[in-house]
Amino acid sequence: MSDVVLEVKDLHTYFELEEGTLKAVNGVSFTIRKNRTLGIVGESGCGKSVTAQSIMRITPKKNSRINGQILLHHDSGLIDIARLDEDSDEMRDLRGRDIAMIFQEPMTAFSPVHTIGNQIMEALFVHGEKDKRAARNHIISLLDEVGIPAPERRIDEYSFQLSGGMRQRSMIAMAIVLNPRLLIADEPTTALDVTIQSQILRLLKRLQRDNGMAIMFITHDLGVIANMADDVAVMYLGKIVEYGASREIFKNPKHPYTKGLLRSIPKFGEKEGAHLATIKGTVPVPLDPPDACPFANRCGEFIAGKCDIRMPAAVQVAPGHSVNCVLYE
């Protein structure tokens, strides 16, 4: 059996706004495999979170439109998530059982009026568990597994009684309670302190080792990506501009945007007084974007008449390493 869990093909997610069409995700393709972590990195507005929300089918119903294929590989065949009704029983079944998601702000993921334990248990009951006693014991061992001390007491607490780190651990417990095959982690450590962040990253790696789930890890933090991802997709303005094995992206970046990003982070031990390399301008809003390289207007290697007339095709520069840039065509 193939180890592909999810295949996204030419995904477009548009939002119809009064000002025009916001092309948040504009033709994105990637594959996520069992036991592997795909890192999606990019700055605000690049579409990384909307990509995740599209896979979960939780984009706003009234003004968003999803096109393309989101193929979930199942024992029984393929399911195209993009074609399901977001409110259907089938989609509801997939969430939690096949694909689960954790967010940056765990405070908003929990209801303040139900205990942590009851909220996690709900998923078990919805998916057929009948025995309350067994469910409770299951949750206690799960809380223990994600590193929550005194889980038999914590299970009856409310989210506001927990620290940020403990809340994030609880959300991870809620996400993995049904053993999903894909975990989508959207900036899960961005709001946490660095020591807690390293604990959470280590926890996610251990869980992956233990149960072989695939992880889609979204973040703006290149340090976190380097630690978590096997493969990396660099997104800019709704498009993947470079894709490859993590080592390739960090050691041998090709796209001017990837290079610029890597150069602009402060590195330890740099000469005092040295200026950081910058990328000029700011990330634009993808409102009715022209069909051209999205990075053209900020790129230091911009070529008029080439970069601004069409989107460059993906070019293979090394095995598994592709870049969309006219410099390599």
Partner: protein
């Protein structure tokens, strides 16, 4: 160094009362900042790091007297005079505040949405009655150009600007009255990586041009390393280590600093975070800290004395202080390049 220091903080302490019940009876105190002493030389940058709840933001606000302190001295050396800001009345402080400015983390909530860029940037000048009319407009133009904003946008409102541009507006406002000291509280934390680099460069250029002194508060250690001459590390309200930047990162002398450094995810797949070891547990409740050294419950090197006695802050090298009972025995791991 002492001769040229601009700011000297001595024994700065801030306790917040914990109130309970209808009568708001005080049942205890949160020791947000607990007897912290540090100094910054003129034209230099002191980085202040620590996790949330370490008291670094409270310390910054006390220095500006944005909140009143419980005890301590804030000595400001300027034009041959020494002023203890802690002793100034509110009225005197208002007059003095032109020497001290602040840049905030969130460029979205720190700018009044109903005021134009001109109003925002000129406000400190108007409040301190430093300039009016044509002179005021000229000054605003000058600082906007300094921070790289188009002066044609002076009459626009903040919502028309991106995060990076808003942060430039905040910096222009802080600069407008020629301050001596600027407290930067997570000034680049909310910005995208590519924009963050622009703002860090701008802060460095301005410092070189105007001999500015920065107290740079941030949780991102790579940013702090980049901008700071010296770095102070806080843990639950206390200063645990302070050293020249390179020294602190290469040769930490406090186990907490070592733990912080080892937890930084490096943007290099060949240098992953350690799979084991690392620091366990979380920051203690500052309202109910453990006895002895506050770090002992998380410290891999803790011994009996650490649970009983608070370690004093001792000098371990030139400009390098650390508060650990075993500072002379431990071989701690710093960052490799």
């Amino acid at each position: 160094m002492g001769g040229s220091s601009l700011l000297e903080v001595r024994g700065l302490t801030k306790y917040f009362p914990i109130e309970k019940g209808l009568l708001r009876r005080v049942v205890g105190h949160v020791r947000a900042v607990d007897h912290v002493s540090l100094s910054i030389s003129k034209g230099r940058t002191l980085g202040l790091v620590g996790e949330s709840g370490s008291g670094k933001t409270t310390l910054g606000r006390c220095v500006l007297r944005a909140i009143d302190l419980t005890a301590g001295e804030i000595l400001f050396h300027h034009e041959g005079k020494t002023t203890d800001l802690a002793q100034l009345s509110r009225r005197e402080m208002r007059e003095f505040r032109k020497h001290l400015q602040m840049i905030f983390q969130d460029p979205y909530s720190s700018l009044d949405p109903r005021k134009t860029v001109f109003d925002i940037v000129s406000e400190p000048l108007r409040i301190n009655r430093i300039a009016a009319g044509k002179a005021l407009e000229d000054r605003v133009r000058t600082v906007l150009e300094l921070v790289g904003l188009d002066v044609r946008y002076m009459k626009r409102f903040p919502h028309a600007f991106s995060g990076g541009q808003r942060q430039r507006i905040g910096i222009a406002r802080a600069l407008s009255i020629n301050p001596q000291l600027i407290v930067c509280d997570e000034a680049v934390s909310a910005l995208d990586v590519s924009v963050q680099a622009q703002i860090l460069n701008l802060l460095k250029d301005l410092q070189a041009d105007f001999d500015l002194t920065y107290l740079f508060i941030a949780h991102d250690l790579s940013v702090v390393e980049h901008v700071s001459d010296d770095v102070a590390v806080m843990y639950v309200g206390k200063l645990v280590e302070k050293a020249p930047t390179q020294e602190l990162f290469k040769n930490p002398r406090h186990p907490y600093t070592e733990a912080l450094l080892s937890a930084i995810p490096r943007p290099d797949p060949d240098r992953p975070l350690p799979e084991t070891g690392g620091i366990e547990g979380e920051l203690p409740d500052p309202a109910n800290p453990p006895p002895g050294c506050y770090f002992h419950p998380r410290c891999p090197y803790a011994e009996q004395i650490c649970r009983e006695r608070e370690p004093p802050l001792v000098e371990v090298g030139p400009g390098h202080t650390s508060a650990c009972h075993f500072v002379d025995e431990l071989e701690l791991q710093g960052l490799e390049d």
